[in-house]
Point group: C2
Chain length 140, copies 2
DNA sequence: AGCTAAATGCAACTAAGTTGCAAGTAAAAA
DNA sequence: TTTTTACTTGCAACTTAGTTGCATTTAGCT
């Protein structure tokens, strides 16, 4: 890990008022390196040595989600997928494209849709999420 | 059940080339009556008497999904939620609103967003789904 | 009525995620 | 720097949505 990255990670944890622990640093680093949302299983594999307990990874992710550093992006094949919360606005995360053939997911970080209009009286809008499916370049 | 409804259900199954069995008729009727997407658990409860086996309900839903009569609307609290496939277009199901306070979900059948534009070369668009969260009238 | 492929039911299984509790440690206090 | 304490971790046991294999039943056909 570059010292620069380490600084960023510790700053992130500090500004979120979270203790700088090994598992938190490792999980954050893995999510920073990942180019798509990760399952707990994928994160565990990426930890290989420096490997924390599965329960710790779940609790680490939960603390990062509560702190707003990480988002639960979507559920696919019964597994929650996590990603860094940067590249999302308050009202809308970037859309995700999942290939129905190979199952891979792509972050559409440079695309977005207008916010939904016309919610009935009494409904308070917080956020919208968009999922797209189809075929990826490798499968089409 | 009104004889009219029975006719409709049998027509649906017939046009989907599915055998008209008890569980299929019951599950379809439950989904027609439901005003929000249902979990297998909710469907089982609604079946009370006439109750089919859990595995049968899963397999029934799968056959209805493959036939295009039913959609997997979303996953909430680790459970798949199913609904009738009417009130959706080929390219987009109606959006769903989930209240972050009480957990209830509302079908926004009369709202929609434009289809996403600008997919990179090689990607083939099939369908998009939109989920909104916030507070429902009872919780806001 | 008899045939056959499709559907059902049961039991056992899989796997993502959770919980309780004892032990360890980051960070604040002394 | 040492002590203190609340927060964090690890382990084992658990929960639960969903799946699989196989024997039995049945819808739809002839
Ligand atoms: Mn993403
Ligand atoms: Mn709906
Ligand atoms: Zn693909
Ligand atoms: Zn509510």
């Amino acid at each position: 890990m570059k010292p620069q990255t380490k600084k960023t990670i510790d700053d992130l944890l500090g500004s979120a008022k979270l203790r700088r622990t090994g598992p938190r640093r490792t999980v954050l680093e893995i999510l920073m390196d990942a180019k798509r949302p990760q399952t707990v299983d994928e994160i565990m594999t990426a930890m290989s040595r420096g490997c924390a307990n599965k329960v710790t990874v779940y609790r680490t992710l939960e603390s990062l989600v509560v702190a707003g550093l990480v988002h639960r992006a979507f559920v696919h094949k019964r597994a929650e997928h996590f990603e860094l919360a940067d590249r999302c606005t308050e009202a809308q995360c970037h859309p995700h494209f999942t290939c129905t053939s190979c199952g891979k997911t792509f972050c559409l970080t440079d695309l977005s849709l207008p916010l939904i209009k016309g919610l009935k009286k009494g409904f308070v809008f917080h956020k919208q999420q968009v999922r797209v499916d189809g075929l990826c370049p490798a499968c089409s």
